[in-house]
């Protein structure tokens, strides 16, 4: 177990270094941050000063080594745009994105699990077919488009919910969260729904597939034959079994959800990391891009590890060492 963890961590380290190098090269190849950030009427002298100020006058390998040296001390550089440590900028915005992503996850389980369960238990019912056909919508509608439709319907036409932005926040553990206030909840609802659409479909499908497979398993047949109530069969035997794929995929999707919030955050003016990264890519704010991606990767690694650990808890047959 310990050996396994150490090996995973070492591999993760390599992944992080490879990632930072790729991003460094990528940003360098795309364009010149100074051209974008500089005031249009700056003269050549001022341009050269800006290049020096941002440390872009050094050869690329030198810039990378400087970055690596500082990164080992926990400093991922200062944003070109904000002149604040990149990590600090990202951490400031992280709670907003996290609560949005978890909100979306919560909604997707809340809606997806019962629907998927129903569709799996009555695969040929009319309602099931409707559910399944409807779930395809979640895959196919572009989320930016759905986002605007939600705003138009619930904010502009009906006036039930605020259109954009994050509402009032309350402090918990020294961080501002908006899900603790009524106003905050009203603000988070639309973007969370928007972000959860894809996830709802996914959960419906996973649950349905899992239920259908499990219902055919011998132990379920046996349980039914034993005369256990359908309720007990469903919620004890089947449920336990389908939770594994659902937990796995949702775990893996959490990272994707956080990344995909790029779109939702930009449509709903949600002040999270997604908006920060898209703005940073637009102005080639390299320190923020690198720091953001490294944190995302780190998060993925941690999530994967957790998923594996949860696996062993849910299903003792899975052994960590057994996985290649």
């Amino acid at each position: 177990m310990a050996l396994y963890l150490i090996r995973r961590l070492m591999q993760s380290g390599f992944v992080l270094i490879a990632m930072s190098l790729l991003v460094f090269l990528g940003v360098y190849a795309v364009g010149d941050p100074v051209e974008i950030l500089i005031s249009p009427d700056a003269d050549q002298e001022e341009r050269e000063r800006a290049v020096r100020a941002l440390g872009l006058d050094l050869p690329l390998w030198h810039q990378y080594l400087v970055f690596l040296g500082r990164a080992l001390q926990g400093d991922l550089g200062r944003s070109f745009v904000f002149n604040e440590p990149a990590i600090q900028l990202i951490l400031q915005r992280m709670p907003a994105t996290l609560e949005l992503a978890f909100g979306a996850m919560f909604i997707s389980v809340l809606i997806g699990l019962p629907l998927g369960l129903y569709a799996g238990l009555r695969p040929d019912g009319r309602l099931s077919k409707t559910i399944m056909a409807g779930s395809i919508l979640g895959f196919s509608l572009p989320s930016f488009w759905v986002g605007l439709m939600l705003i138009m319907l619930f904010a502009v036409q009906l006036g039930w919910l605020p259109s954009t932005g994050r509402g009032e926040t309350a402090m918990l553990f020294g961080i501002r969260w908006s899900f603790l206030t009524g106003d905050g909840l009203a603000h988070i609802l639309l973007p969370a729904i928007n972000l959860s659409l894809f996830k709802i479909s996914l959960v419906i499908r996973l649950t349905r597939a899992g239920v259908r497979e499990t219902m055919l398993m011998d132990y379920v047949k046996f349980a039914r034959a034993k005369g256990l109530t359908p309720f007990r069969v469903t919620f004890v035997h089947v449920f336990k079994n389908i939770m594994i794929p659902v937990v796995t995929v949702l775990g893996l999707e959490l990272g994707g959800t956080i990344a995909f919030s790029v779109v939702t955050e930009s449509v709903f003016a949600w002040p999270g990391m997604g908006k920060l990264i898209i703005d940073s890519i637009n102005v080639l704010d390299r320190p923020v891009i690198v720091a953001y991606l490294m944190m995302i990767v780190l998060m993925f690694i941690v999530i994967n590890l957790l998923v594996d650990l949860v696996y062993t808890l849910l299903d003792p047959r899975v052994r960590l060492e057994g996985k290649a």
């Binding site: 795309v30 364009g31 010149d32 941050p33 100074v34 051209e35 974008i36 950030l37 500089i38 005031s39 249009p40 009427d41 700056a42 003269d43 050549q44 002298e45 001022e46 341009r47 000063r49 800006a50 100020a53 941002l54 200062r78 070109f80 745009v81 904000f82 002149n83 604040e84 900028l89 400031q92 915005r93 605007l148 705003i151 138009m152 619930f154 904010a155 502009v156 006036g159 039930w160 919910l161 605020p162 259109s163 954009t164 932005g165 994050r166 009524g182 909840l185 009203a186 930009s266 449509v267 709903f268 003016a269 002040p271 908006k275 920060l276 703005d279 890519i281 637009n282 102005v283 080639l284």
Partner: protein, 521 residues
């Protein structure tokens, strides 16, 4: 649940209805990146700064200079400007404003670390700062420099005692966002909102609202939706697609003004032989660059139906133009015509230049920078193709585009330029020969070069007689335009939208500021 939320919302709304009149919520399209007024020279930052800080020389909504912290300014000698300062002005923390603070500010500007776009260019001409008395300051320059007061409209004044050694972070956190402006800052959530409170000691006109929330909503449709939903009272950068609808909606009003931003095409003047994106009709490179021929440039200019672009693509939110600045602004050439659309004449000019069957060209442009930028180049592509120049169109994100344009990789490309209200500004930056030593032509990405024009520009830059200088500039502008150094297309109209009960004074310089909003019916 929705209903409960709505009910609670209604209850809250009526409870705070009384206070409502004192509150203002604005949404802007471009994020403010820093509250340090000397860190990043960027319009949104300048807008935010001009709510918190003030300048020696302010500008009104038509970009004309007005007294600010300085009551008057005169060139007491050809190389010495004297500023008489306003007495009795206090910073938000109660400290008094004096000439020494001006000296401190001018000294701080070049020392702000890590600045990606500093204000240094504005203070570089100043060779010496002389504090005569607490309310008089003299700025010395090496040569006569008529633009000094205008340069100072970019400089926000800080307090020596408060801001000595201040870092950008301490401004952003709000700790040191202390100025002499109409508002004091109460909260700053980076990239999301700034909350402000009226400064009752402000020396100028008292702002109408006691509390202001200044939100940043970068997505155009979301910003309009927020206005329609009543979540914000005023928005800026109204997308042209929404203007027609908002005009019909009696819950909102639009405030517009012709701006200072010119949209133009830049052409490859640098290469004599073969431009990278120009070929003959069979796709083979041409031996020489057709854009070096004045007749070709004229043909390309008159092949564009500018009024059609303004009407159809910009939906009326622009003014077709053949010059740099709009009517009513300094250095506008009175009566200078908008090149008339004439595809037949364009064809004849091309034939005279030796291209009876035209040629092929790729027109480049950004797709996320100026309103409808990608649509404009497609429309021009249509028009050029009909006039015989088969045009392909390629739009890129600004981050990629601007780097390539700066490396002279394109043949013809669309750009925009926010003018200072003075002809020397476009001439120095866009038209003058690219020259590192003089600092001229830094944004001349097509590398047009006309030594005669440069000589005229040098002469005008030391002319302290405003009227004579303007005449000089008009002549130089004509020279550049007759030679089709660039192809001007239109000048953008700046559009704001406000909910009923609010009105904003529109500004030519595109700045969106809370002090410009007033109650209206």
């Amino acid at each position: 649940m929705l209903r409960t939320a709505a009910a609670i919302g209604l209850a809250l709304a009526s409870a705070i209805g009384v206070a409502q009149a004192q509150n203002l919520t604005m949404a802007v399209g471009a994020p403010v990146t820093s509250l340090d007024p000397h860190y990043h020279q960027l319009s949104p930052n300048n807008a935010a700064a001009s709510m918190i800080y003030s300048r020696l020389v302010e500008t009104d909504n038509l970009a004309r200079m007005q007294p600010g912290l300085a009551l008057s300014w005169t060139a007491v000698e050809p190389t010495v400007w004297e500023f008489k300062l306003r007495p009795g002005v206090r910073f938000h923390n109660g400290r008094e404003f004096t000439a020494d603070d001006v000296a401190f500010t001018l000294a701080r500007i070049p020392t702000v670390p890590n600045s990606p776009a500093s204000f240094t260019t504005f203070v570089r001409p100043i060779t010496r700062v002389e504090v005569v008395d607490p309310l008089t300051i003299r700025l010395h320059t090496a040569t006569p420099y008529p633009l000094l007061p205008m340069d100072l409209t970019n400089i926000f004044i800080l307090d020596r005692e408060t801001h000595e050694g201040a870092t950008t972070e301490r401004f952003n956190s709000g700790e040191l966002a202390i100025g002499t402006g109409p508002f004091r800052m109460t909260r700053h959530a980076n990239g999301d909102r700034i909350e402000l409170e009226r400064n009752d000691q402000y020396f100028g006109e008292r702002p109408a609202y006691a509390r202001v929330t200044y939100r940043m909503i970068t997505n155009d449709s979301a910003r309009t939706a927020a206005l329609l939903a009543g979540d914000v009272d005023v928005i800026d950068q109204v997308p042209t697609a929404d203007i027609a609808r908002l005009r019909r909606d009696n819950r909102v009003s639009l405030q517009e003004i012709t701006g200072l931003r010119l949209i133009y095409l830049s052409l490859d003047h640098m290469r004599e032989d073969g431009s990278p994106f120009i070929t003959d009709n069979d796709g083979r490179p041409l031996p020489r660059n057709p854009l070096k021929d004045l007749r070709v440039r004229q043909a390309l200019s008159i092949a564009i139906d500018r009024p059609a672009i303004v009407a159809r693509v910009m939906e009326g939110s622009a003014t077709a133009t053949g010059q740099f600045l709009a009517e009513g602004i300094h250095s506008h050439i009175p009566g200078y015509p908008v090149p008339a659309f004439d595809a037949d004449r364009a064809r004849r000019l091309l034939a005279e230049a030796g291209y009876p069957n035209g040629f092929r060209i790729t027109l480049h442009g950004p797709n996320d920078r100026y309103p409808n930028d990608a649509r404009i180049i497609q429309a021009i592509g249509q028009m050029w193709t009909r006039a015989g120049v088969r045009t392909a169109v390629e739009a890129q994100t600004w981050s990629t585009f601007v780097g390539r344009a700066g490396r002279q990789e394109f043949s013809a490309f669309l750009l925009g330029w926010g003018m200072n209200p003075d002809g020397s500004h476009p001439l120095r930056n866009l038209i003058a020969c690219y020259n590192r030593d003089t600092g001229l032509g830094a944004s001349n990405r097509g590398r047009y070069c006309n030594p005669e024009l440069d000589r005229g520009l040098a002469a005008s830059s030391q002319n302290l007689d405003p009227a004579a200088r303007e005449q000089q500039l008009l002549g130089l502008e004509r020279m550049a335009l007759e030679d089709v150094a660039v192809i001007p297309l239109h000048i953008q109209t700046n559009v704001w939208a406000a909910r009923r009960g609010f009105a904003i004074t529109p500004r030519a310089d595109e700045l969106t500021r809370a002090q410009d909003v007033r109650p209206a019916n």
